[in-house]
């Protein structure tokens, strides 16, 4: 392990909700030499442009706006001795826990840490990622870019707007742009169901009579210098456009809300094992990655719907980092969680029963919509170790269950999470 006087106990990469929560938790558990590195000019991450309310219902038991939620954690950090470097870009991290960074004040620096928490968040999928045909005019934005232009910079991105994808940011922007005087013509979703939260469908689309076209997509974007229109078509069961269903929209702007991807260039540089399902690092119950002493949390691990769970995950990683500095890693049995029927992924992917405490939370997403009551079945081989009922499940709503150490301790090494339909048991 590194051990010079300048070695930090913990370097956190990213000062969004995950990184802030991780740093505060590690401080509260006794780490005193902590540095947060943030590439933006202020802490808070994407919350600062999410000016709508609805954050914090689980964690603070009240509805806050994004900046208010961030402010609470920034205030907590300010009360500690945690250092923070803003406007600083991390260029590289190594598996020996050296962090390479650059800013205009300190120049290029290599700082060493006993532990690292990766909290870089995620980025939006772009037009290139989904390959929409048509010309390349101005007026096509990701929903988050439009959100930044409007809420931070004070610019309207357009006047007649078509939204592709029904992710939460797109829905939030539909309402925001409408209230600012734009005409939002429609929201177009490739899948037969929306990826957004129900309350956003109701309060952002239905409130303003904005139509949502499910199983539809944009098949052509028109315009030379600026977007002048778009063609939308219905899709059949194999997602092929159905001839004769063309609808032409007279729009000057197209917003893309077509999914988020965890940001992990740094993770890969440190040779950390990745999960192709989440596109984030494979983590243990304490959010430790495959490299001992490097932890990951928040949207860099898997994309969350609610910031409250990002905070919870940040705290797990912060607690994990503190325990690592204070006691090191213990070897022990590892249980691997695997996808069962209709489960897309689980986080954590690995659990160490001897280190997990009395119980651990497991996050997962289902692959399809379940409108009828169904069961979450946790099995070790063929033996069921837990069974939980849910009245409703959807890919857009992350599920969280809790498993105890006793349930996981006597398993065969692989435990599956699957969804079973209906019935009475």
């Amino acid at each position: 392990m590194n051990g010079t006087a300048n070695t930090y106990d913990l370097i956190v990469i990213g000062a969004g909700p995950a990184g802030l929560a991780a740093a505060v938790e590690a401080w509260n558990r006794g780490l005193k030499k902590i540095l947060i590195v943030e590439r933006a000019k202020e802490a808070g991450g994407i919350l600062m442009q999410c000016i709508h309310n609805g954050f914090g219902l689980h964690y603070f038991k009240e509805e806050l706006t994004g900046p208010e939620y961030a402010e609470r954690f920034i205030t907590m950090v300010d009360k500690t001795g945690i250092e923070i470097k803003l406007d600083t870009m991390v260029l590289d991290i190594t598996s020996r826990k050296q962090v390479h960074m650059v800013n205009t004040k300190d120049g290029y620096q290599i700082l060493e840490a006993k532990t690292i928490v990766l909290a870089m968040g995620c980025r939006e999928r772009t037009r290139g990622a989904i390959g929409i045909p048509g010309t390349r005019p101005a007026g096509i934005y990701t929903a988050g870019t439009a959100q930044r232009l409007l809420n931070i910079e004070g610019y309207m991105p357009g006047t007649r707007i078509l939204i592709l994808g029904s992710g939460d940011i797109g829905l939030i922007m539909a309402r925001r742009l409408t209230l600012e005087g734009a005409k939002v013509l429609a929201c177009v979703e490739l899948l037969p169901f929306s990826g957004g939260l129900t309350r956003n469908i109701v309060q952002c689309l239905n409130d303003f009579d904005i139509p949502l076209y499910l199983s539809h997509t944009i098949t052509e974007i028109k315009g030379d210098k600026r977007v002048t229109g778009a063609v939308v078509m219905q899709l059949d069961g194999s997602r092929k456009p159905v001839p004769g269903t063309e609808m032409e929209f007279d729009c000057d702007t197209i917003l893309l809300s077509v999914g988020l991807i965890p940001e992990n260039e740094l993770t890969k540089k440190a040779d950390i094992r990745m999960d192709p399902r989440t596109k984030g690092a494979i983590v243990y119950e304490n959010r430790e990655t495959s490299v001992p002493g490097i932890f990951a949390c928040g949207n860099a691990v898997h994309v969350h719907d609610l910031v409250d769970f990002v905070t919870e995950e940040g705290q797990l990683a912060g607690a994990g980092a503190a325990a690592y500095v204070q006691a090191g890693t213990k070897d022990g049995q590892t249980v691997e969680l695997i996808n069962g029927n209709d489960v897309g992924y689980t986080v954590p992917q690995h659990v160490r029963p001897e280190q997990m405490g009395d119980s651990t939370g497991i996050y997962f997403r289902v692959k399809s919509v379940h409108k009828e009551p169904c069961f979450i079945s946790i099995k070790s081989g063929t033996a069921e170790i837990a069974r939980l009922k849910r009245d409703h499940m959807a890919p857009g709503e992350m599920e969280r269950i809790s498993l105890t150490r006793d349930q996981l301790q006597n398993t065969t090494g692989k435990v599956s999470v699957s969804i079973e339909e209906g019935g009475t048991k």
């Binding site: 706006t65 900046p67 931070i152 600012e180 129900t198």
Partner: protein, 115 residues
Amino acid sequence: MKNLICIVCPKGCHLSVDENNDFAVTGNSCKRGETYGKMEVKDPHRIVTSTVAVSGSSYVRCPVKTDRTIPKGLMFEAMRTLDRITIPAPIKPGQIIVSRICNTDANFVATRDIT
């Protein structure tokens, strides 16, 4: 009869609310859904969030919210009260930006610190 989707929990029940029968709710699976359905048809309210122009700072906009819900029908009128005002920095969270919006008891308040 008004049809709406309940937003009390993720289940999203399809509610029908009868305005001509004391706002009787059907299609709900719990008591909270009934309360939501009644209120939503009788007197729907919303929190409105937006931004306001700032002077004397490197920030150009300050985010604001209504400090309580306002009638849904007043949302656009409420937005217009922010159009022609500029607030000098510094601004503190909770600072009143527009008081008694459209003669309601609600105020627009700042939701962040602007230095």
